[in-house]
Symmetry: C2
């Protein structure tokens, strides 16, 4: 069993902390570890460091090596340029020499999981199910009719295969409207798609050849041609998600299963998610001046008077005073400052869009 | 006619911009000029630069000279230490050699006046009234039952002295409770005491000798002993306001008059006052990155999405993004950042109190 961690970048809505030069996986958003480090750590002891691979954009190779000094150097796969998750998964499947029928786990590098033991148990259950040849996705227990996530709808009949855990997937539903999200929840068969997949390596490659043959072929030829081949060929691979390219079409023909994972998951997609997810325990301390959620307390660098439900991320070295502010996020960095209402956290993307339009690369 | 500008310091509630090393009078809060510069400029042509004197704490002498290069050097009076306004007024009256019966105008260095012409007209009217020997205060037309100001209540009979403008003062009321403030407004005879006084030099000195003899004597002896005398004697002078020491007791015996001044006055006492007073015209521009009030616009250093009634004072050189925030003040400086709800602006003082308690002098 081995794991492939997808550390491609991203995190626009976490600007100004998340930047092109150091995107979300490489940030310490929730504690001392970076999200990448936490993603690796929570796999152990189910999957040890020698069996962990990281796929990343070449420009982040140095960050990965610095943050995962215990990982063998050859476990780092660099994309010359990001081509979305279908290409990255194909690259991992083709470039990493492991037995054909070995279980391969794919996990994003930028998520939060509260209960690591439950997470590993879910992976183990998914691996058991995947042994039969299905493509398995972890289904996160939904906490509400969120419209920002993809949903996995399990089949009505359960699609049980003997004693194996999980159920067959009836379909995927990408980012539903609110009414549709509520409908999905009401079925009792819906879960969130976290992009965490478990499959046999040969099952994956067979699936890719069937449903995304162009991607499988292009990546295979690039890998066969060695480093210069990847450099030249990889940028030409079709850019699409593994969900669109493989999971959705495979689910139509009944080849996808979902295994439930009630593990305290968050995609940490935007600052309000971080505010929501910052443990109450963090409210009375400054946590080395990084992430502070203020609810009537103050840390070494933060002075608050009458603040409530405010996330202060102090990365600028400055003293920050919060007075009478509620439901807000304050992110201070050396060259940019964000002050954002919790319910407008999605609009941080618009700020980044504007900076792009103004050509202010130094801030991206 | 000559003017004495009181530039002692203060402005705690305008932290983190207002600091011990550069307090409120020396800041550009509303435009390119500092408040001190604006205070001098609005006196002209009624009172020219040669007839303007500044009383300040010795440590601000350099700031005054730099900001008022056209003022004769001898027009700067330095206090070895601040001893409140009674001592400062006595110092000006005794140390500045002007004719005994000349009209002396006293104005604070840290206020805002929108209509400078009306202000000068009010001073001229007050000077006319003061010629008869009364102590005259400008009465600001109240815009509401504010509880943070001192009130001047004019006498019911008008106390007219022939054709001279203004009315006799019945009494001063310092920072009334809300109900009392409403009562005062209902009389139609109440105005705000802005600390702007007009009197004959000899009338002032006679009043001081009668109502604050200890202050007049101590300052006179200190001045008579020259610079070293001031250095040694001034710190021993009783510290109290000219209002308490002179105006209030003098009003009881009918020696104080009030001349109305409807001039667009603000004491700029806290950040919410600045937010309120920042002209609408400033909303579409960054004004050199200093004071920006955002109502759907953005400047070179400020990117906003869905912000409204937000004052951004960008003195830290950083790009500032404001997303979905309303009724707030953001003040960015190189070493300290304030994010404050408009209706909590008075509590900025509590932040400063806490920094004092923590011994964080570098931030004060």
């Amino acid at each position: 069993m081995y794991a492939v961690i997808m550390a491609g970048g991203g995190g626009t809505r976490l600007w100004p902390l998340s930047r092109t030069a150091r995107p979300k996986p490489f940030l310490s958003l929730l504690g001392d570890s970076t999200l990448l480090q936490a993603s690796v750590a929570r796999l152990s002891p189910l999957i040890g460091m020698d069996d962990v691979y990281v796929v990343t954009d070449g420009r982040y190779a140095g960050l990965v090596r610095a943050q995962l000094p215990g990982m063998p150097g050859s476990n780092l796969l660099c994309e010359p340029v990001g081509r979305n998750t279908a290409a990255a998964v194909a690259l991992a499947a083709l470039a990493i020499e492991r037995p054909d029928d070995e279980i391969m786990v794919v996990v994003p590098a930028d998520q939060r999981v509260v209960d690591a033991a439950a997470f590993r148990a879910a992976l183990a259950a998914a691996a058991e199910r995947a042994t039969g040849g299905e493509l398995v996705t972890l289904g996160i227990a939904p906490t509400g009719p969120e419209t920002g996530y993809g949903y996995v709808l399990a089949a009505d009949d359960g699609g049980s295969t003997g004693a194996a855990p999980g159920r067959r997937v009836e379909r995927f539903v990408e980012k539903p409207h609110p009414a549709r999200a509520a409908e999905l929840l009401a079925t009792g068969r819906a879960s969130w798609n976290a992009g965490i997949f478990v499959w046999r390596r040969d099952a994956l490659l067979t699936g890719l050849r069937r449903f995304a043959a162009d991607i499988e072929l292009a990546v295979r030829e690039a890998v066969a041609a060695g480093p210069t081949g990847i450099e030249a060929g990889y940028p030409l691979v079709r850019s699409t998600s593994i969900d669109y390219a493989l999971l959705e079409p495979a689910s139509v023909v009944g080849q996808v299963a979902v295994v439930p994972a009630d593990v305290g998951w968050s995609d940490l997609g935007s600052w309000d998610a971080l505010l929501r997810d910052t443990p109450e325990a963090a409210t009375d301390e400054c946590r080395n001046g990084r992430a502070v959620s203020i609810r009537g307390a103050h840390g070494a660098q933060v002075v608050e008077v009458g603040a409530d439900r405010v996330l202060v991320h102090a990365a600028g070295g400055r003293t920050i005073a919060i007075v009478g502010i509620r439901d807000a996020i304050v992110v201070d960095t050396p060259d940019a400052l964000l002050v954002c209402a919790s319910d407008s956290a999605q609009d941080v993307k618009l700020v980044v869009d504007r900076l792009v339009a103004e050509g202010r690369r130094e801030l991206l």
